[in-house]
């Protein structure tokens, strides 16, 4: 075993040497902040302590913030996957102007800066001047203007909808790329076998898409947990902490209250959480690979 490893090493020594600069830079760029963050989180007033973690977990709003983070993440991820999936299927069809629609639909939300998206949605949600209330009112769906960002549940929904718009493009792009890899002959073959649209999807498209779904879900979950500019510009975590997540909490603690140690404790906690989620996904992924 060891000999084999050593053999590999010597055979690939040149390749490894080529890799060294990248590994070193990656280590510096990734490991250094993580370690520094853990170190800061374990200090208070120049002493080593667990005080910061205790403070974070004892925080009266901790349960609420955790709940919000789950709602925000699950809501955004599920909606982004669904919208992205449907859009990818649609954009995979042959129709006139496909390239145009692809670029508009897939690139526009993704390329718009976070803060611009936040401010734009904030205006659309505005209760008095907002376009959303106006449309819903004219359609007769609501009979009074909804205070979108001022009500706890509506605000949670509002940030998730905005985030879905911002993020679905990425999922859609992944799925579209995956769909393009499905060999056309398979569809033709199944057609010969008399499969209908749903059977084709289930037996041809889905097995190929499945690993992409798992990977995309993992990536969007991680990004959503860590994503904060949208919430920050739209609600600032309010009303009454309804849209406060782990990262808005960490940001506020560091850059408003200048309590970097406590903020680092929250960030480290979030890091571990995200890390565990990634591990779970990776395991699920490798098990699926093995099954095949």
């Amino acid at each position: 075993m060891l000999r084999k490893l050593y053999g590999d090493m010597t055979r690939n020594a040149f390749a490894y040497r080529m890799l060294i600069p990248y590994v070193v830079f990656l280590a510096l760029l990734v490991l250094y902040p993580i370690i520094a963050n853990f170190v800061i989180s374990l200090q208070a007033d120049g002493l080593w302590t667990l005080k910061n973690y205790q403070q974070v977990f004892k925080e009266p709003v901790f349960a609420k913030v955790a709940f919000n983070t789950v709602i925000w993440t699950v809501g955004s991820v599920v909606l982004q996957l669904l919208v992205g999936f449907v859009l990818a299927l649609l954009l995979n069809q042959d129709f006139r102007g496909r390239a145009f629609f692809r670029s508009i639909i897939l690139v526009l939300p993704w390329a718009t800066p976070d803060i611009v998206v936040g401010v734009a949605w904030q205006w659309m949600y505005n209760d008095m001047y907002g376009v959303l209330n106006d449309i819903l009112f004219r359609l007769g769906i609501i009979d009074y203007y909804l205070p979108w960002l001022a009500d706890q549940d509506l605000a949670r929904l509002a940030v998730i909808i905005a985030n879905t718009w911002k993020g679905f493009a990425l999922s859609a792009m992944f799925y579209l790329a995956a769909l393009q890899t499905v060999p056309h002959e398979l569809y033709e073959a199944s057609e010969v076998d008399g499969a209908n649209v749903f059977q084709k999807f289930l037996n041809v498209t889905w097995p190929i898409l499945r690993p992409f779904v798992v990977t995309t879900t993992m990536l969007t979950t991680i990004w959503t947990i860590n994503y904060f500019p949208l919430i920050f510009t739209m609600t600032g975590g309010g009303p009454a902490n309804a849209t406060d997540t782990f990262v808005t909490y960490a940001y506020r603690t560091a850059f408003r209250f200048l309590d970097f140690n406590r903020s680092a404790a929250m960030s480290s906690f979030t890091f571990v959480l995200v890390f565990l989620i990634s591990l779970l996904y990776l395991r699920a992924l490798s098990r699926k690979e093995a099954e095949r």
Binding site: M128, P147, A150, Q152, A240, R256, F257, L258, F260
Partner: protein, 416 residues
């Protein structure tokens, strides 16, 4: 081997470049509402360069990103030599972090000091020493829309004086079907919610913290009556727009410009802004001392000049501060822009531009203006006040419950 040497040299060059070019210019960062006056800043700075021979490199930074920019720069040890800090607690906060220099000795020796409004000094004091020289200031008053007053059959020359009148007027001015509202309650999670509560609290004769800032002092009958009155304007009387928990002063100012909100807390910085939002509002808005139940009240704000503790050009930075705070520079500024309010009493009294009914109200209200507690914990204390208001206006808790929780949390923050 040579390849490695080249690599190492390259790395060193990258690392060193940040510090290699020895600083020979005074770095100045300007923030706050005054950054809009770009041309004036350019002229002030070149006049200063000419008079002193000190070269200045300056940046004007918008308010939204200013605090974060400063905090990031200072915590990285890369702060500007001289900059402005908000009088709402930034000076003690920065001083506690060791980011800024005590100016006590320089202030003692300067004759500018005696011209500064005396109620400003607590905002720049930390541990008994002064860390900043206030540059411009303001105080919060009631701004109201005269057109809406007339439409509602109210006398636009007689703004409300007491809380009862405020409520009565606000009810008369509110018409939800036309989306017109009498009074804007700042319910947003932002400093403005704290400021709104403070004006009602002080107007009821209450105090936020004890005199030595060691404990919460607002859970009293006065403090509770202020919280109840302030929030009930929205929850009970509905004289503030439905999305109040997401609105603040700036939103209400825009709505007032469109004749949607009749009264709201505002200040002198808002004069040019409301006129910019709707030129037709010129002459159709006015200000008055904010209504109160026990005594007139206001909260002051503004900006102070501070010097970075890591600066290598402290002497030059102080010269710049003295220059911009001089009588002549201020008179020039006021003659040109009409505001904001200088921290120098002599300029306030001498400038003909302040012979204006709006400015008379500001100068009349100023002596009543209280400071926000100048303590490093202020941002977090203010956050709890904002939260207290938000849980009440969103119906999560009663005023009694919310005030008790806020008191307990603030005492914990202050170390009790």
């Amino acid at each position: 081997m040579r390849k490695y040497a080249v690599l190492v040299a390259l790395l060193l060059a990258v690392l060193v470049s940040g510090t290699a070019f020895a600083q020979d210019k005074l770095i100045v960062w300007v923030g706050g509402h005054v950054v809009e006056q770009e041309q004036t800043w350019a002229e002030i700075i070149s006049a200063f360069e000419e008079a002193t021979g000190i070269e200045v490199e300056y940046r004007l930074i918008g308010f939204d990103v200013y605090y974060d920019t400063l905090v990031t720069a200072f915590s990285a040890g890369q702060g500007p030599d001289m900059t402005f800090a908000d009088l709402g607690g930034w000076v003690p906060t920065f001083a506690a972090q060791g980011w800024i220099e005590s100016l006590e000795d320089r202030l003692q020796a300067s004759d500018i000091t005696e011209q500064i409004w005396p109620n400003l000094w607590p905002t720049v004091t930390y541990n008994g020493e002064r860390y900043g020289l206030p540059w411009y200031t303001d105080c919060r008053v009631l701004m109201y829309n005269k057109i809406m007053f007339e439409e509602a059959g109210l006398d636009p020359e007689k703004p409300p004086v007491t809380w009862d009148e405020l409520l009565e007027y606000a009810k008369a001015l509110t018409d939800p079907r036309q989306m017109k509202y009498g009074y804007g309650v700042s319910g947003k999670r932002s400093e403005v919610a704290t400021l709104g509560y403070m004006i009602f609290l002080h107007g009821a004769g209450g105090e936020l913290l004890t005199e030595d800032y060691s404990k919460a002092a607002f859970n009293t009958p006065a403090g509770l009556s202020a919280l109840k009155f302030y929030t009930e304007l929205f929850t009970e009387h509905k004289v503030s727009p439905p999305a109040t928990p997401s609105y603040g002063e700036d939103d209400f100012r825009s709505m007032m410009a469109q004749n949607r909100v009749a009264m709201a807390i505002s200040g002198p910085w808002a004069f040019p802004l409301i006129e910019m939002a709707n030129p037709a509002i010129v002459g159709n808005y006015a200000v008055a001392i904010h209504p109160y139940s026990a005594e007139p009240a206001s909260v002051l704000g503004g900006w102070a000049s501070v010097v970075s503790s890591t600066s290598k050009m402290k002497e030059e930075a102080w010269k710049f501060i003295e220059y911009i705070t001089s009588y002549d520079v201020w008179r020039m500024w006021i003659a040109r822009h009409g505001g904001p309010m200088p921290t120098r009493m002599d300029v306030c009294y001498d400038a003909p531009e302040f012979d204006d009914p709006r400015w008379e109200v500001i100068l009349e209200a100023f002596p009543y203006a209280k400071v926000r507690p100048p303590i490093p914990e202020w941002p977090e204390v203010s956050d709890r006040i904002q939260n207290m208001i938000q849980v009440v206006v969103t119906g999560q808790a009663t005023a009694e419950e919310a005030i008790a929780i806020a008191e307990q949390e603030i005492n914990a923050i202050l170390g009790n």
